[in-house]
């Protein structure tokens, strides 16, 4: 190899040296962060989500079994330092139970989204990359899944596989919710397949797998990230609805949904019991949505950062 020599070549005009500019080179994640922080609502949503996740993780851990311990003396006790939201009609610490319920709901929400993204990206990528009959078959299957009323399908699956099991709910939501992600990825892939850099990668001898995984999926991820964060919100709501109807997480296990169910029995005497899980649910959904928005803007490398 004679490539070790670096004699200047003609055409590497001396003037080219002028092109050296001294702005620091930023890495991808630095650029992403820079774009993300400009999105104020998303930053707020990010911290809100972080706080919710931290509370859901640590408070049940620190408070032990407080979320299910009943006590005759504490029935309907007002708020105190150890129980900021008081005690309910069974003498259970409402705040501890709310946090345990949030933990369950977030766990189900995030896990369901992982399933949704895995199925959705795989199906969408195969349909978009291979095209032709594979695309047709997969997309018609998507149409079939979409034509079934999702919630009733989930109800049926949960009823069939057994209620009260978080994993059953996760799988049921995952198996019905991947269609949007699949469509988004397929649409991105259809245009990416024609992209010059994909052609260039082929011309360099890259195989199908490498092209899909390394060159196409990263560029198709922006809409998937948005769909996924919105999917967290959806999944949390579906879980709450299932539990509310008694098909999801059943007491004594706690979830935001079954806390709402219970609260309706005491709605006139103690409406706050409905407000707590309700507001928590809204916060989760809003945080997830704004986070998705901010991430979409930040992850798209084609958007340049203006100097400021």
């Amino acid at each position: 190899m004679e490539s070790t020599q670096t004699t200047p070549l003609p055409g590497t005009a001396a003037g080219a040296v002028d092109e050296v500019d001294l702005t620091p080179v930023r890495t991808y994640w630095q650029l992403v962060r820079q774009r993300f922080v400009r999105h104020r609502l998303a930053v707020i949503a990010f911290f809100l989500m972080a706080i919710l996740i931290a509370m859901a993780l640590f408070i049940p851990l620190l408070s032990g079994d407080a979320w299910k311990e009943t006590s005759l003396e504490r029935i309907n006790q007002p708020p105190s330092l150890t129980a900021p939201l008081g005690y309910d009609n069974l003498g259970i610490n409402t705040f501890a139970r709310l946090m345990k319920g949030l933990q369950t709901s977030l766990f189900i929400g995030f896990s369901a989204v992982v399933v949704i993204v895995m199925i959705g990206v795989t199906v969408g990528a195969m349909a978009g990359y291979f095209g032709g009959w594979a695309d047709n078959a997969l997309m018609r299957f998507v149409d079939i899944v979409l034509s079934i009323p999702t919630f009733f399908l989930i109800l049926m699956l949960v009823a069939f596989w057994g209620t009260g099991n978080a994993w059953v709910i996760i799988i049921a939501i995952g198996l019905t919710g991947w269609t949007t992600a699949a469509r988004l990825v397929r649409a991105e892939f259809l245009s990416l397949r024609e992209a010059d850099f994909v052609q260039a990668a082929k011309a360099l001898g890259a195989g199908d797998r490498r092209i899909v995984v390394r060159h196409m999926i990263p560029s198709a991820m922006a809409p998937v990230v948005v769909a996924a964060t919105l999917g967290i919100a959806d999944s949390v709501v579906i879980e709450a609805a299932l539990s509310f109807l008694g098909f999801g997480i059943t007491p004594p296990e706690a979830s935001l949904g079954n806390m709402l169910t219970k609260a309706q029995d005491y709605f006139y005497r103690d409406p706050l019991l409905a407000w707590y899980p309700g507001i928590t649910l809204i916060l989760v959904v809003l945080a997830a949505s704004f986070l998705g928005d901010g991430l979409r803007d930040a992850l798209d490398p084609r958007q340049r950062v203006e100097a400021n």
Partner: protein
């Protein structure tokens, strides 16, 4: 490293036909193209948009996608029949023995990876070396193609570079595996003229240094004059004229080549209007019978209803036209050779 000697054929394309089977009919994008590229030589492929020059290049790379298909012909690289290789073997040829650079430097780099990573990917795809070594080689390649401060540039994303810089990165990527043949599909069309000149100089220098052959696809005759040893002029999927570069510029024979040459503005020459070639490229779904150029040809004559063969009008100079080598209409109608008669009959069949 394979030994590269001058003179011998590196790439030989023989009777290549690449057709696209669309719903409206068969588009014969490349229809019987033959030419050869010598070791270390530069072959210019010229023609208007849609004449099949890019499809010829993609056929050599075997990157034709549905509904297109290579119907017939052979493509031999250093006596290896590329069309009979398995997909896996072909992947190894791509980027290793043959590299390609594209017209659009703005979009041919993946926006989500740093330039250095894209080059080192190309290297590690074909050579089992560590990521570190590949990275070092990538930086070295960037230096070789004249990118100042290569180490830093390697860590930049494509959107942070100018068009000329990006084309240099593309060239670095294509040359990183030291290919025997570089296919350059309009490498300078998207660049402005000063950058264009720099890139051409760079390609020339790298050609000498790496002793590789170049297949240069362009519609810019200036680029051809600058770079090429031999020229193939394509029209509607067929080669209409082939010769060395001096012959084509000094003694073009085919009316289409003459038209192309006449349509370049020249310095110091007073002319009110540039010559244009009348008419448009024929619809590929509905090619005229006989000579494909006859509707636009100033010399069209009755004999042009019979497709002319590609014939040698002087040693090393081929032209697909009925005009005599001197440019005169043929005295007597041509006696159709068997080959021509068959071709005409086939064309009529298709028409029906």
């Amino acid at each position: 490293m394979t030994h590269r000697s001058d003179g011998g054929e590196l790439l030989a394309i023989e009777g290549l036909r690449t057709h696209f089977f669309t719903q409206d009919g068969v588009v014969k994008a490349v229809d019987g193209v033959s030419f050869a590229i010598r070791h270390g030589g530069t072959m210019g492929v010229v023609g208007e948009s849609g004449c099949g020059k890019s499809i010829t290049a993609l056929s050599v790379m075997r990157l034709i996608e549905r509904p297109g298909r290579i119907v017939e012909g052979s493509i031999r690289l250093a006596n290896r029949d590329l069309l009979s290789l398995s997909d896996e073997e072909m992947r190894d040829v791509r980027g290793n023995s043959i590299s390609m650079i594209f017209q659009e430097p703005m979009t041919s780099l993946n926006p989500v990876y740093m330039c250095g990573d894209q080059i080192s990917e190309a290297i590690s795809l074909h050579e089992g070396i560590s990521k570190r070594e590949a990275n070092d080689r990538a930086v070295e390649m960037l230096g070789q193609v004249g990118i100042p401060d290569a180490k830093r540039r390697a860590r930049e994303y494509p959107h942070q570079l100018s068009g000329g810089m990006r084309q240099r990165v593309m060239i670095a990527m294509a040359l990183s595996t030291n290919p025997e043949l570089l296919i350059a599909d309009e490498p300078t069309t998207a660049l402005d003229v000063t950058i264009q000149a720099q890139i051409l100089e760079l390609m020339k220098a790298l050609r000498e240094r790496n002793r590789m052959a170049i297949m240069l696809i362009t519609h810019d005759l200036g680029v051809i004059a600058e770079m090429a040893d031999d020229v193939v002029v394509m029209y509607a999927g067929k080669v209409v004229e082939a010769a060395d570069v001096t012959t084509v510029f000094e003694r073009p024979h085919h009316p289409y080549s003459k038209g192309l040459l006449a349509s370049i503005p020249r310095m110091g020459e007073k002319r009110h209007r540039l010559e244009v070639i009348q008419g448009v490229v024929p619809n590929p779904l509905n090619l005229p019978l006989g000579c494909l150029f006859k509707r636009r040809c100033p010399h069209a004559m009755p004999v042009c209803d019979t497709p002319p063969p590609l014939q040698e009008i002087e040693p090393g100079h081929l032209s697909r036209c009925w005009l005599t080598p001197a440019g005169e209409p043929p005295a007597i109608g041509p006696e159709p050779t068997r080959e021509v008669a068959e071709e005409a009959a086939a064309a009529l069949d298709v028409a029906r």
